[in-house]
Amino acid sequence: MSGPMTDPKVEKVAKTAKRRPGLFRTAWGFGRTKVGTVLAGIIVLVAVAGPFVAPYEPTEFVAMPYETGVGGTVFGGDNLGRDVLTRFLWGGWTLLLLAASAAGIGVAVGTVVGIVAGYRRGWLDDVLMRFNDVLLAFPQLIAALLVMSIIGPKVWLIVAVIAVSHVPRVARVIREATRKVIEQDFVKAAEAIGLPRWRIMAVEILPNVTSPLLVELGLRLTYSIGVVAVLGFLGMGLQPPTADWGLMINETRQGMAVQPWPVVLPVTAIAVLTIGANLITDGLSRAAIGIDRGVEK
């Protein structure tokens, strides 16, 4: 009688064990992952290599405000007459750097909180999760705006606020994954031979939640890009005269009908970048779940 009860379980464990090392390869098997990698890759390349190939200095005046068709420029001048192409090439790496650090820190802290809450359970779990719920009560953008408006837009603050707003969301997912892992025998075995708790969390649990972790990282990176860009667009991100895609849109959108390029270029870049990142995330998450349901991103 116990046969049908244990068999699927064994099979499932075996399957996860077999699939886990190949998460990237499985994800790469989806066409969308390849498309996403190409899209995101192009933008990352533009952002990283841009400053080195830019024809002018980002704050150099080369044209009249909103002037197009000026000799020596490809896309004309922006609201102050600075070269649009140069500012576009300079404006990407700040966005990428801010978004990547915010996502990285947020996911790291969220993972620690999630594993601790999921493994320790009890009052600590309750406290952490209730605290999470309060943090979740703020829409991400509103929380960022509140803090920026009070303390002022500073770079570390942008990263910190976005990272903090990621923590409860990541923690929730990792906590679920942890609770599934700790039911398995190897964790009980590790407890039985008396490994300290932190070792169990770091060595036994963490490697077994990498799939959801990677998916979360992709998801948070996509959102971070979005939030950093929105903050820049609202004028609450990086401050002038920095060349930054979000800020570029904010500064030049008044002249959009006359000179669309300083808006079109960064908008397209942000769109392509987020779509690419999300496609990769989608591929990863499909590979991690192993089923195509369309619910997960």
Partner: protein, 344 residues
């Protein structure tokens, strides 16, 4: 069930209180104090002192907070620094504008995404499904202001010139089209995805199979057996998306220059008008919490199965519901946290 809802309500109130503490604490982090902010840099010390007395700034922080909270509960949101108007009065018409915008977006987005989602489920893995799936994925990844700008570029004065891209008082109803469309496109993807997923799940269920095996007409199977059972979790996602709208209007109002609460918030930030910022943030967080609460209640009411076990085997993340159920907080249906995550 009533007890669960009551617990949920209580928790909602607690969260709201916590938010009020955060919002109040944020103002304490201000460089200088409120009096300095109101009077500006070249105020005389005597006037500053007088104003500090008037604003009770000499009292301990806890007392200030209690007074502020008392005022809040009586609907007194303070006086705006920049125009000396009571904030609650000042917010009336922007709030109306924002609600119109959110309402329009919801009215457009909900039925359309439900139809697309259901149709994708019926045409699973065929052309329409793949197109819709890719479309929602793309829309879900792009920030809403980017969608708005692309819409302006395509349909606004620079492009096809069909609709105005900037709000003006004299403008006709057509000026609401682009902003409402932007918001609708921003909220639609999760609804489509959820509707599709639930529909597929329901269509594969045993009772639908049974209905089909009985030889019922496919339409009857669809509308009488499948659709009603799919609506529960989807209704919850719709509610969550509406909650997201509360925060999502900010960038869209800023882009289209619509005098709503989001615009007021941005103006308030520009003028460092603290009571105004506080009020708008509280308002948005309040709407957000309230609609989330509503989503939970809908989830509870629509799906008793979730409340009892929370175990919907094929839905990813179903353990969430189970855990929350165990915690005794509430049986948030399986997909709620995911749905929350779909939007920033």
């Amino acid at each position: 069930m009533t007890r669960l809802i009551a617990v949920r309500l209580l928790f909602g109130v607690l969260t709201l209180w916590a938010v009020s503490v955060v919002v109040f604490a944020a103002t304490q982090a201000l460089p200088g104090d409120a009096a300095q902010l109101i009077l500006g840099r070249d105020a005389t010390p005597e006037r500053l002192e007088a104003l500090r007395d008037q604003l009770n700034l000499h009292q301990p922080v806890a007392v200030q907070y209690t007074q502020w909270l008392q005022g809040l509960l009586q609907g007194d949101l303070g006086t705006s620094f920049s125009n000396r108007q009571p904030v609650s009065e000042y917010l009336e018409s922007p709030l109306g504008n924002s609600l119109v915008l959110m309402g329009l977006a919801a009215l457009v987005a909900t039925p359309v995404s439900l139809l697309i989602g259901a149709f994708s489920a019926l045409r699973r893995d065929r052309g329409f499904d793949h197109t819709a799936s890719l479309g929602t994925l793309v829309l879900a990844s792009v920030p809403e202001f980017v969608v708005g700008i692309l819409l302006i570029l395509a349909l606004g004065p620079g492009g096809a010139n069909l609709f105005p891209s900037v709000y003006s008082r004299e403008g006709g109803p057509e000026q609401w089209i682009l902003p409402a469309l932007t918001l609708a496109l921003a909220v639609a993807p999760p609804i489509v995805r959820m509707m599709r997923a639930t529909m597929i799940e329901v269509l594969e269920s045993e009772y639908v199979q049974q209905a089909r095996l009985k030889g019922l007409d496919e339409r009857v199977v669809l509308w009488r057996h499948a659709a009603p059972n799919a609506i529960g979790p989807v209704a919850q996602v719709i509610a969550l998306q509406l909650a997201w709208l509360a925060g999502g209007v900010v960038a869209v109002e800023f882009l289209f220059n619509i005098p709503g609460i989001g615009k007021v918030l941005m103006d308030g930030i520009a003028n460092r008008d603290v009571p105004l910022i506080q009020a708008v943030v509280l308002l948005i967080a309040g709407i957000y919490i309230l609609v989330n609460l509503l989503a939970d209640v809908i989830g509870l009411a629509a799906n008793p199965k979730v409340r009892v076990s929370g175990n919907r085997p094929s839905a990813p993340g179903s353990a969430t519901a189970k855990d929350r159920g165990e915690d005794g907080a509430a049986g948030t249906p399986a997909d709620a946290p995911k749905a929350k995550d779909v939007r920033r």
